[in-house]
Symmetry: none
């Protein structure tokens, strides 16, 4: 029972890691929505630490892509563009393909039981809020990744799954988690049977359908900053006056 897969890279028990975990969870449960401000002072006060620590935690979360940090500006919860969301799902499909390929036919009975227990928990949570359902669904995938015992794979799958979580809260409409739960069960079954091709296919379609359910309109561009949109166009302008557009209000 080697469940003690503590990542040596980070996530020990120092204060920074605690704050990271708390914020990460708050973000993926949508308690903190994309764009929410995260001033160092407030965080420090809230968690009973100094600004130094809060700052460090924000740095870590920025490295994971959950938080956006701009010099001299208040940190905010990341608001991925639609295209970034799409990219994140593409990457996720590849990575989780790697996971199930490694896992097919190699799961112990205990592991299968653990997975089933998790999905049961997802089932029980169906009555609750969407946020909790989404978190549990995400954690199912992370649990799978952990079973590979590959720290690198765990880290990347976790990160990208959290990112996808974030985009779900931005672009998805009221959620229907039930089919996802069934797909989870199907994946477990195929993994147990050791049918690698089948499980790869299942996982691919599972993630693809989640992505498609979530990322509906090709051009919502909600919450996207005008300057970002115009950035590629400004590159071709040679005048030095393009740098500063007046503060144009977003229509909306």
């Amino acid at each position: 029972m080697a469940a003690r897969a503590t990542h040596k890279t980070s996530e020990s028990s120092d204060k920074v890691s605690v704050i990271c975990r708390a914020l990460r969870r708050a973000i993926i449960e949508q308690a903190l929505e994309p764009g929410a401000k995260l001033p160092e002072d407030s965080l420090g006060e809230r968690f009973g630490v100094s600004r130094t620590i809060a700052r460090h935690a924000l740095g870590q979360l920025a490295a994971e892509g959950l938080v956006e940090l701009r010099r001299n500006r208040i940190a905010v919860v990341a608001t991925p563009s639609w295209q970034e969301a799409r990219d994140a799902f593409d990457i996720r499909i590849q990575l989780e393909g790697l996971v199930v390929r490694q896992l097919a036919g190699k799961l112990t009975k205990n592991q299968i039981a653990e997975l089933n227990a998790h999905v049961d928990a997802e089932d029980r949570a169906r009555g609750g809020t969407d946020a909790v359902s989404i978190r549990l669904a995400t954690e199912f995938h992370i649990l799978l990744a952990q079973m590979t015992s590959s720290p690198i794979l765990v880290r990347y799958v976790s990160e990208v799954a959290y990112r996808c979580c974030l985009t779900l809260s931005l672009y998805s409409r009221p959620h229907s988690t039930e089919c996802a739960i069934n797909e989870h069960r199907a994946i477990i079954a195929a993994l147990a049977k050791g049918d690698e091709a089948k499980v790869m296919d299942l996982m691919h379609h599972h993630l693809d359908s989640v992505a498609n359910r979530a990322l509906v309109a090709p051009a919502p561009q909600r919450g996207r900053d005008l300057l970002d949109i115009l950035a590629p166009y400004a590159d071709e302008v040679t005048s030095d006056r393009v740098v500063k557009l007046p503060k144009v209000a977003r229509h909306g």
Copy 2:
């Protein structure tokens, strides 16, 4: 001065990012070998910043997997296990497959020229040290990733490529970069022709062969004084507080 296409996500111009870049480069050029100690004091002294900043930089590099951080212990350059190295290459193959799939047939003339120029540089560097060759080869892949304009893909490919760099310095024998250079040229050609299947295949075999050439047997490393190693990297730091000469005696 030409407009810098710096990504805003991180790597701006604050001191932490500068130190991260310097250390990252020192690590992938094997000036800092896996296992090398990175005390906050020494880093701060060398780069002319306070320990707070050095610490923050170490945190970022740890998040990228280049540095290992253990509570109350001196940070060290990461020493991936052989298995982790193998996993990193597997992930890399998947991610770079995504890159070339997106890029096949979509490159502009300028981009193709840029790629060719880079490989030319690799060619010229063949007489130099292995470290530089390895860095250039890695940067070729990162350059490809950047052409997807997908920040997420760029970040993950960069990270995992750096990690692979690290393992190369641990497990590879005297390098033969020439075939890699030819493979780079072949990839460019296939990308330009838009032959997606071909380029996927080429990239897959390219990375696989690099991995197989590299991951053979461990090689022992010798240690050097940190401050000496970092001397050339500290030049980029613009601070009057930079300490010019090491004043820490090496053992013996």
